[in-house]
């Protein structure tokens, strides 16, 4: 294993082990020793977060672990980001994400955002309790390809449907792919309201989003 590979492995493990300090230390080592910052994010931190996503899907990790792992990832990214050489070739796909109107629970949405970012998306986070028209407006403004909608509350499910209705009414449905998810959402509900895909959790949301823009 080369020194660079060692650092990638270390960064990945620091994320999985929720070790923010180690992630910072190794990210700094990448910078100091002159290795490529983008590679370190991709093969180190993101790879670690992918493993975290797997552990979450397997119910080894839950929300507190996921949050701590993402803190470690972000601590590393913070240090590496200024050193990324601009990649001309890479196409950045944009996702507009938010919690639908009537719901202020945003833990799930934040996790999806993290997973999407670590999967290479440009994520426009509208926040929580967002009216239907705001999603459509933001998606157009930012030239997004995907609109991601979340809710934890059954009572906010009609507000999720409303986003699809606005898209239909304004004849813009064909312009965007719509991903839905959250505690009470089911594949059947996603189909009923005309969403493109249902994601059962954050890791799957990122995976499906990549498929949608492939």
């Amino acid at each position: 294993m080369t020194r660079e590979e060692e650092l990638h492995k270390g960064l990945s493990e620091a994320v999985v082990d929720m070790d923010e300090d180690l992630a910072k230390e190794l990210a700094q080592a990448v910078v100091d020793e002159g290795f490529d910052a983008y590679e370190a994010i991709d093969k180190g931190l993101s790879a670690g977060m992918e493993e975290v996503g797997r552990l979450y899907e397997e119910e080894e990790y839950f929300i507190p672990e996921l949050l701590l792992c993402s803190d470690a990832m972000y601590a590393g990214i913070e240090i590496l980001k200024p050193h990324i050489k601009k990649r001309e070739d890479a196409v950045r796909h944009t996702v507009v994400i938010g919690v639908v109107e009537g719901d202020t629970h945003d833990i799930g949405k934040n996790l999806v955002k993290i997973m999407l970012e670590s999967a290479g998306f440009n994520v426009i986070d509208l926040g929580r309790d967002i009216p239907a028209v705001e999603f459509v407006k933001a998606a157009e403004e930012h030239h997004a390809e995907i609109i991601a909608l979340a809710t934890l509350m059954t009572t906010a499910m009609p507000a999720m449907r409303e986003v699809l209705e606005v898209l239909e009414k304004e004849a813009k449905r064909g312009n965007f792919k719509v991903v839905v998810g959250g505690g009470p959402i089911s594949p059947a509900f996603a189909e009923k309201i005309g969403a493109d895909v249902y994601a059962v959790n954050a890791a799957e949301a990122a995976r499906l989003a990549r498929e949608l823009v492939a």
């Binding site: 990790y61 839950f62 803190d71 833990i107 059954t154 009572t155 499910m157 009609p158």
Partner: protein, 340 residues
Amino acid sequence: MNDLSPKERLLRVLSNQTVDRAPVICPGGMMNSATVDVIEGLGLSFPKVHPDAEAMTRLSSAVEEKTGFENFGIPYCMTVEAEVLGSEIDFGTPVCEPKIAKERYASAADVEVRDVKQLVREGRVEAIARAGQTIAEKNPDVPVIGSLTGPISTAASIVDPMTFLKELRKDKTNAHRVLDYVTDFLVAYAGVLIESGFPVITIADPTATGEILGPKMFGDYAVPYINRLVDAIHGRGAKAIVHICGRLDSVKKHIPTLHGDAVSTDAMVNLKALKAETGIPVVMGNVSTFALQLQEPETIRKVTEKLVEDGIDIISPACGLSTKTPVGNIAAMTEVVKDR
């Protein structure tokens, strides 16, 4: 058959004694049934009702009358505890329930412990106790249920919730210190309600789910503090219902360790199977609140009938009701249970 009074029936079920039929109730709090339809024509309006004992008395009587639920349930939101403990509350609108605008503390280490005896004299606690007392005196046959926000959810509404969830792992000492404090306050608050004539307390702890915490933390944090609160409620001679949100798969082994007299669950849980698998004697639920809001009364009747046929001990909504739920749908649900 309607031989027992609603209060006797509910208390008998919660003591695991035989009854003529299942009670059909809605505890208030997270499961608030003071909907837009119900409040109409009373000359009352949200958010003005929340701190007003006289208004709560009238509104809860209207809920019982119009929906057919066999109880009174107060308060109508989950922010009473957080308000007393210092968080900023957005009291909402006629159609939107109150929510936390800003948590009081950035992290668990910042939480200052105050005297809970003083705290129960603050905020809406007294108004809620007084409303319950008035209703209980006027309606001795109908149970008044006090709805509490559970320890983890209360803690996560006074400390930034994302930070608090992380601190359950990263700063266990302070996480436990905050939960101790919050639970002490909830015990004192429940005590005030019980003294005022609330025979049943419901604890809903939507942040403490298997899906959020996972089995280990649910066992380490949710179960012990909920149980401490339930034990205190029992110690004062009242009954306790514990509502657990979300899917139960990952935490099923912990369910029988809860000390509550009944376990209430969300709509995706098969209560009949849960009872069989865990051996818990009394389950409550779980008419989909999504169905209640959007389906026709006929569908609601079928869903409810299925629960009755499955021998579910207490019939109730599965989760928080939308304020726009048609009262006709709620009435359809309660009629089915009473007509059996």
